[in-house]
């Protein structure tokens, strides 16, 4: 036993898969201890805030100000305010005004603005340009002037009695606040989703729920498959025929179609995460049953089973002590595969909108479903679906790696 364990942990594939899996598992266990927010709390007013550190503007006005004279500050500000469309518009004007296209680089803000300052003339008529477009360029020129100005912003407050705005202070361009001193800063490493919920917190909760669904589904499927396989294989005869008839029926009907039909008939309101797990478990035991049966048939005529019979052991005792330990390694491997396919099945169901009801818990599949419905992929909001995809892939990949590693240990013919 110890020897087998040592061999398992010497298998590179198993150890890699195990490490990834344990890392994911620990992540889902430790993260909620640090960030205790409820995963489904809506914090953002709007959809798909990009990843980053969010600093309260109001609080930073009240924080201690520091004056930093940074040479590049001005340039950075202008560079960040000048949008991509504006840059392209500038380039178009410059090209139309006769500047060679090779000389213009939209990425080089400094050079682009210099060229603009030197060449732009609102009165210059460019053939084929509409009036609206001409007005746009005039506005653009003004806003670029605004960007280049060195004056600060004025803070004003309405007087409670007269309603007139009264100046309360100014913010200079060289004013800085220390993020540490701002009262409200929120780090959203993966931004927010379509409902304005913290993606990372939601993702961790979803991974945990999906793993639980996978485990429940895998254990149910393995238990059913194991029991039926043992009975069919060991007892044989009419019992075998009966069980195999049912098993073959289930094999012929694609289990995913069955899963969709059952999930649909249960109805949205009744579909909790646990119900979905049970439904997945009850539709995916077929291959375990067939494989276990095949293994048991090859075992049941072995001498040690005959000897056990001759020693007066009951059928149950023989199945538990003379058959089960011999196929235990195989069953563990099947269980791992069942868990990972359970997670995938849940994701598949949820993407179709047949997953657990949406108000209870997030799952990996539900997150994919939300991202799809709100067109995160078309809008380029990668943070709404890519981390979920990677998580699903890593969970199933780690489990399949563990499975392959175990297979190599238990099946010497497959060793490298």
């Amino acid at each position: 036993m110890n020897n087998t364990l040592r061999q398992i942990f010497r298998s590179g594939k198993f150890v890699t898969g195990f490490a990834i899996f344990v890392a994911i598992l620990l992540g889902t266990l430790i993260y909620p201890l640090i960030i205790t927010d409820a995963p489904l709390t809506i914090i953002g007013q709007g959809t798909f805030f990009p990843p980053g550190i969010y600093v309260s503007v109001y609080d930073s006005l009240g924080s201690t100000r520091y004056t930093l004279d940074l040479g590049e500050a001005n340039f950075n500000r202008i560079a960040s305010r000048l949008s991509e469309e504006d840059r392209i518009a500038i380039k178009e004007w410059l090209v139309a005004a006769g500047i060679p296209e090779a000389d213009i680089d939209t990425a080089d803000t400094q050079k682009l603005l210099t060229q603009w300052e030197e060449n732009f003339d609102a009165k210059k008529s460019i053939p084929g340009m509409t009036n609206a477009k001409r007005n746009y360029y005039v506005r653009l020129d003004k806003s670029i002037d605004g960007l280049l100005s060195a004056e600060g912003a004025i803070l004003a407050q309405a007087n409670a009695e007269t309603g007139a705005l009264e100046q309360t202070g100014t913010v200079e361009q060289s004013d800085f606040v220390n993020v540490q001193q701002v009262a409200n800063v929120r780090f959203l490493p993966l931004g927010t989703d379509n409902f304005g919920r913290d993606m990372l917190t939601e993702l961790v909760a979803a991974t945990r729920v999906s793993l639980i669904i996978g485990f429940v589904a895998g254990i149910i499927a393995t238990l059913i498959g194991l029991t039926l396989g043992l009975l069919a294989g060991y007892i044989g005869g009419p019992v075998d025929d009966g069980i195999m008839f049912i098993t073959n029926l289930f094999t012929v009907i694609p289990s995913f179609v069955l899963l969709i039909l059952i999930s649909f008939s249960i109805g949205q309101e009744q579909r909790g995460a646990f119900t979905v797990a049970v439904v997945i478990g009850f539709t995916s035991w077929v291959w375990t049953a067939r494989a276990v049966r095949a293994q048991v048939i090859s075992l049941r005529n072995r001498d040690h089973v005959n000897l056990s019979k001759l020693s007066g052991h009951s059928t149950v005792h023989i199945i538990l002590t003379d058959i089960l330990p011999y196929i235990a390694s195989y069953v563990v491997m099947a269980l791992i595969l069942q868990i990972s396919s359970g997670i995938l099945a849940e994701a598949g169901l949820s993407i179709l909108g047949l997953g657990p009801k949406t108000t209870d818990v997030p799952t990996l599949g539900l997150m994919m479903n939300w991202a799809r419905i709100y067109q995160a992929d078309i809008q380029g909001r990668w943070w709404a679906y890519l981390p979920v995809l990677v998580t699903i892939a890593m969970v199933t990949f780690s489990m399949n790696l563990m499975n392959t590693g175990l297979d190599q240990v238990f099946n010497p013919a497959l060793r490298d």
Binding site: R302, D303, H304, N306, L307, S308, K309, L310, S311, G312, H313, S314, T315, T321, D322, P325, Y326
Partner: protein
């Protein structure tokens, strides 16, 4: 040899077929036999002649297709699990391959304890059980202290087969079917195992049914010899009659196939 022979195990028209239609194989074909109490019977035949199937039929591990077996003068009844367990108190077996005969997950103590429990010794004090196990191991020249808490695969093939005999020593059955017990064992251990088997038979007075492909071995141990060819018994009689004065062509061939150390092998009959 006893003067008054009481039949112990009798087979009438015993048949076992596997498969159906074109793949149908008749492994044991209408075999009749009578084994008497206390004698040593050999069943000799080449591979595939149905010896092991016959052994399993006798043991009740598989059901006969046709025919019946009489046990101690009465028709054998093994229709339920309980009756089978009762039957197996009187008939036991030693299998060919000691390496596959043990459950690799059970310790040696468990193997021997099972036998004590089967003989109704479930409620014996622990010390008495250990005493019985020590006695059984001593009979086959094994040291129980060295075996306790070990797994069967930690022993050599010869030791495992001797442990099998210790098991039979504890069970004290009326009939022992030894299915090629020495074919996986080297020549030196072979003689020891055979000696223990004969010694055990003398001690308990059981019937020993010895299944082998080695006609020389059969002559060495047995009182009565049955020769099997393709599921049928082609010749039977006392060891001297069958081997020294064979009548069936198959028997003659089996005898001529025994390699002689001092002669060049005649491969023409193979």
């Amino acid at each position: 040899m006893q003067l008054e022979k009481k039949p112990c195990l009798t087979g009438v028209g015993l048949t076992k077929t596997f498969g159906m239609g074109r793949t149908k194989t008749v492994a044991v074909d209408h075999v009749d036999f009578t084994f008497y109490e206390g004698e040593i019977v050999s069943i000799v035949g080449e591979s595939g002649s149905g010896k092991t199937t016959l052994a399993k039929l006798l043991l009740g591990l598989i059901n006969e297709t046709e025919g019946s077996v009489e046990f101690l003068g009465k028709k054998r009844d093994i229709s339920s699990g309980k009756k089978k367990q009762e039957y197996w108190k009187s008939i036991q077996a030693i299998f060919q391959d000691p390496f596959s005969s043990y459950n690799i997950f059970n310790k040696i103590d468990a193997v021997l304890l099972d036998c004590i429990h089967m003989r109704g010794g479930k409620n014996l004090p622990q010390a008495k059980k250990v005493e019985l196990m020590i006695e059984a191991c001593k009979f086959v020249n094994l040291k129980f202290e060295e075996l306790t808490n070990k797994y069967p695969f930690e022993l050599s093939g010869g030791q495992m087969q001797r442990l099998m005999i210790a098991r039979i020593f504890l069970l004290k059955p009326k009939i022992l079917i030894a299915d090629e017990p020495t074919s996986m064992i080297d020549a030196c251990s072979r003689a020891t195992i055979l000696d223990y088997l004969i010694q055990l038979r003398n001690e308990i007075g059981m019937t020993l049914i010895f299944i082998t492909h080695d006609i020389g071995l059969a002559y060495y141990v047995s009182d009565t010899v049955y020769i099997m060819e393709r599921g049928k018994i082609v010749e039977r009689g006392s060891a001297d009659d069958v081997i020294l004065r064979p009548r069936a062509a198959y028997t003659k061939r089996l005898i001529s196939d025994v390699p002689k150390i001092y002669e060049e092998w005649d491969l023409s009959t193979v």
